[in-house]
Symmetry: D2
Subunit: 440 residues, 4 copies
């Protein structure tokens, strides 16, 4: 049975095609800097937005009419959902997918149910992967939807909730391992606070660190070779989330000695909610040595919540991909579409339009980013700008060769009178635009 | 000669007084929790906003007519400014003041000038302190106004600028030491970036860490016993400042092993620009062990820049002071008014209205915070809320007694089915309001 | 049968009471400026947040266990909900409530069902009102939750949706009239756009104006004497809502000649989402002659969505109530709590804590606002500040007695050289704080 | 004498040129939809940012070393500045410029000075225009920098300040007329408030309306045929500006019967500060019939103030220009660069990089917008989406053929049961990207 009967497999037809259900730029086999587009971008479709979300929002009911959302036996629906998902993945022609435990299997009424349902669905997913060639970019556990997690999971005031969360992550990490997942993600949905009046920050941070340490240890124990990833987000649903942004996560990991064990999964919309650009968060993750993977989406500059729209700015993504490319590209990470069609986009075709357009945007941006890497103009300017630090003075300072007083003495002795030099921001912005818009 | 002739020394006259130039709540000798209000609040007036700023903004010229701003010999004006400042401090009756090196002395045309001018003015300030009994809460150096600092100070692409900055900090820290300053503050005005296109984040962070290490070493060398403080701010004047917020600063310090050497000076308006509440930043600083001092002011929720208004919310400050009181109160820190009267408030009286009102607000908030500390209702609720972590299960988890798998096994064996318990946020908010508004 | 058995009727016990389920300030019979607190504040409880919302959010399921939310016959549950609601209203001791049509009656499967269900529930509500003495502050229709309204109601691209919306408003306005409602509210939940790419702004504004005109005409036809109110909100759920803020609504009404027919219902949290203060929106509504009523709540300055928390700032509400009082107080409007307890506040007690605390805050703020009205200091300063406009020059300008050229000529002839006079903002802020904090 | 000796006249060299001081896309004579790029874009360079601003910000002194900023005779410097400006305009090869009265002439010490200085400089500008062929897009008056305007100009509490402002506008409008300006702009820099506590909103709005009416009348009197424009901005320097956004300005104009006399000059960065997209403000201005001209720049999504950067997003400007093109293009308006190079971009070359890059971005965006106009896909979708309003039902509703009750009756009689139809947002976003990125 087909869930997307009217829709053909999406193929690359080139820039001039008028077919809205074809790729215009994403020629997956095309090579760039020694790798194919598919190998560079490592695109993943997420289960939750695309197959689980019914199209509801805080002011309105679901608008989508998905067959697998209809009332009926929960496990039967879960199998239908998996069938629909793999049909979609295959028609889209992307290599990866991602899921939460409770996206793929019904939670059931207790821990026993949870485990049995999940185990059966993992079997089913394994079979689907083998049949289709699809791979799992990462798995994760939903530790935020059930009422038991209203006050957090690892940071819950009740240790039994911590234990429930541990159970879910144990199973989700095992499943990810078994399904060949290349990463495992922890998003701290409600690991934060609603009000400081009832919150013990020190205690909750300790709990969270303990939880992460247990995950690190479990990974070693089962021999999972993938990467553990934390996904920063500053707020929503909570007033404040502990994993606020990349710098905060890195600081937390460093405090607890976990900075070499866990990396970050950076979401564009979370970056902007935290008051940063997407580019900033990626650059900061590389500077701090914790870059892992990306949740590709976009927010709305006029709306203060996580809109999770499909990315559609080549300009923004060129900078993001430039940063990734010049650091050598993804290793275990990839581009997961943590993105959903709008609530009004209720037709199955809309799911395809959203993904196809976004994948083309990634392909376009990758190509432009490669131009920037190859022409090296940005880096050239930086090398020249910081050249002073490669002189004797600069080296000696950085090597610890000066005290404040001895440097002050030297400055006086040499009569330093440094003049400001232009940062040439406008010229560099033109360099980027030329890489994006010069026809090739 | 008097600069504020028309204005009498400000005295405590009690809540019923109609005198706008009297304290209605700040009775400095009144005792609360074993200390006087003066000892608790450790109020400081800043030099820059109150005596240096001419009342200009980015769209308009100065509106203030201060005698010491008039054209003339720079050193003569600097002495007049000091006279005016100490007259103001004394009339206000606060114990502390704060300054940047270039607030108190003209920069001059080169390093030699800078040093001589500053040295003469430090002599003069020392004499004024002795004559008045005023104390220095902290000193700092202005590493952001001069064009040489356009691209940063310690993080400048030019190491000679680093050397200039080192010179200024060396002298400003020496001066702070000599004047008996209780802290020394580093605000990274332009330690950040305007565009990532010309910025090497890794390199600039290294430079910054080196600079801080040199300051730490200099402090030890001269025997300065005060506290070194970094003042977080997320942006402005730069697009992005490296000392974004308390968590980011703590992460940076931890990465470079400086977390026991440097603490934070938290400004209310910087907290809100970073997407946090003032209360949050203080609570986080205590949770991370780096709380130092406070720049008391407020921003405008409708304006996205640093308005540096005088604090006027007892409600907001009660929570801030509650957090400080329940952690034992200030040690070397205090309440510095990094606040300026509005550009339209051009009269000398306005300087007094701003400070008097804000000091009264602090006094009111302190009293309410003390009620919350004494009635202990918030902490009582927290103790009960987290009680589960003091049971055997909770203790064993935190002590590392469980792996993910063994905890999952225990959860299954005991059939854990934890239910959400109310966080009672609304009741706790009522507890706070009762502390603020119940007549005493 | 009682739904809140454990909770007694809430009584006024005075500021010193330790009972969290008592009023400490809201002594409804106390008189101030010639009216009782009850007459001034005209408090209303809303049906939707308090009796309909299950405690879910976009990331999680409902946490509340209300008997009337359990599965079962929809009309039976609707009656239970009404019983619970009126028990709550009565125990709280407030005079008013508010509802949407679909809060009180199940929508059913078609228009016929809708009408019959609603009609039966209106009968029931009428009986409950008579039995309890409760009054209806306003009714409204839910034109945003059902999927048919995904693209708007009056502004929908499909005129049949407009017709559905007309049907609901027709019935909801009739019901409001019959139940003695004092106002009727229109909140344009999805009257806006998600993307300009598929939106015809001109056409949608025309549709909206037509709809409003039909409502105005229907009001006249049925003899409803209450006030029609539009509730401004800038965005959420849509990217952009046409009723952005008070000024925008007034402009729209003026363009279509409706400015004397419709007023505004101002919500605090909507004001802040629109980049304004609550005080601003109220002051602007009075300046534009369209002030109607208030949705009392608060947002979270750190969160960019409509958090709809209970108001808890006396400082903020004092300014709001001062504005209302000095314009003569509410006429048909009142203080509706468009506020919900937090998702974690899952117990029935929390509903009471939320309302009791907020009503006390209103009572405190009203008392302080009355002090400001009585001491008249703010208005005195304004009269003096603008005194120049009562001179001959000022009067002549405003009366149209000058052209640009003749005024320039006069300015030159008289050698005008006006100097800036202090706006004394800090002193006036102190005046407000003295009204709030001076013990009485 | 040349001020930009090292820099040649900027020429079009095509996309492949590596010359950073050449146009790669702005071929001014190229035709598109029947007009040249020059005729479409009507680019203007502003005097204030480019020739007046010294590169200072609120935390630092000027960094630019412009010869005409050096100390010296004010009128001599003004002539040098004009020489530099016209050399720059000419080298850039744009048709228009814009200025404030006090940009081009020193204010002097009194009204007499002001008039004489300005008159002499207008003579000089007229000669420069004739010699160069440059045209004036618009003139304006600076009613916000001088201390007298600290509390507003037309809305000042002192009518003598109103008279000063009237004098300046009278002269600036006369000068604009004489110099053949195509528009005259009013930006209400401080027409707003810092605090509601000292502000009479009703009175200030009346003053502002009177002022505008006088300007309208003066325009008629002198026979100026250009367009009067208000430039909306929500805040900064004031806390709140009365000309908040396009809708607010239109409402204000409508209230005072000025909606056919005055149009809007929309600035991109002001749009985003007001919580809108640039596209939104332009679309709204057309929907309200008040579109006039554009201040082309960009803000920084992470910074809450007016950064006035050069526009560099083809993606954003394609939508803006699409809106303008499909409404027939500019009439008297144009694209004024209200944009400044960054404070670090201190070299004269940077002025060129900023303008050249931005003009190329406009050219690219114009070309893509023309594709969207020509392929008509967005409009096609809209026509189909709203087709129901062209049926009998739709027409009858809009024509006033229904009352609420009769429409409800019809809806019931016909058993309306409208279903939501997809808005296809993602597909339309792909249509836009295809117009931008498909090679031609």
């Amino acid at each position: 049975m087909s869930y997307f009967e009217a829709i053909p497999a999406i193929r690359y037809e080139g820039p001039q095609s008028d077919n809205p259900l074809a790729y215009h730029y994403y020629d997956r086999t095309k090579k760039l800097l020694g790798k194919t587009l598919e190998e560079h971008l490592r695109v993943a479709v997420c289960y939750w937005h695309t197959f689980v979300w019914p199209g509801g929002d805080i002011f309105g009911h679901g608008t989508f009419h998905r067959p697998w959302h209809q009332p009926g036996d929960a496990m039967e629906r879960a199998h239908q959902k998996a069938d629909a998902a793999f049909e979609f993945f295959t028609k889209l022609g992307v290599p990866f997918y991602t899921f939460h435990d409770t996206d793929v299997a019904p939670e059931g009424k207790d821990l026993k149910d949870y485990k049995e349902n999940f185990a059966r669905m993992v079997d089913y997913l394994e079979a689907k992967q083998q049949a289709s060639g699809m791979k799992l970019l990462w798995g994760t556990a939903n530790l935020f939807s059930h009422p038991r997690y209203a006050a957090g999971a690892a940071t819950n005031p009740n240790p039994e909730v911590f234990a429930w969360a541990a159970t879910q992550v144990c199973h989700a990490l095992d499943a990810t391992h078994r399904l060949g997942g290349e990463n495992y993600v922890l998003w701290g949905g409600r690991e934060g606070y609603e009000t400081l009046l009832n919150t013990d920050l020190s205690r909750e941070r300790e709990q969270f660190a303990r939880f992460l340490s247990m995950v690190v240890e479990h990974k070693a124990r089962i021999g999972f070779k993938g990467t553990l990833l934390i996904e920063p987000k500053p707020q929503e649903p909570t007033k404040h989330q502990y994993d606020y942004d990349v710098a905060t996560v890195h600081g937390f990991l460093t405090q607890y000695g976990l900075q070499n064990e866990i990396r970050v999964n950076i979401e564009a919309n979370h970056a902007t909610l935290a008051g940063h650009s997407f580019h900033h968060e990626i650059a900061m993750a590389y500077a701090l040595g914790v870059f892992g993977s990306v949740d590709a989406n976009r927010g709305d500059s006029q709306n203060g919540w996580d809109t999770d729209q499909f990315p559609n700015s080549v300009e923004e993504l060129t900078l993001a991909l430039y940063e990734i490319l010049r650091h050598g590209g993804f290793t275990t990470g990839g581009m997961n579409f943590d993105a959903k069609v709008r609530r009004q986009s209720a037709d199955p075709e809309d799911l395809f339009y959203g993904h196809v357009g976004a994948i083309d945007v990634l392909a376009l941006a990758l190509e432009r980013a490669a131009v920037l890497v190859e022409n090296d103009r940005l880096e050239q300017f930086k090398r020249q700008r910081y050249a002073g630090w490669d002189t004797e003075l600069g080296r000696k300072i950085l090597a610890g060769g000066y005290s404040l007083a001895s440097l002050a003495a030297d400055a006086a002795a040499h009569g330093f009178n440094p003049q400001h030099a232009s940062g040439q921001q406008e010229r560099l912005e033109n360099v980027v635009n030329q890489a994006i818009y010069a026809q090739r």
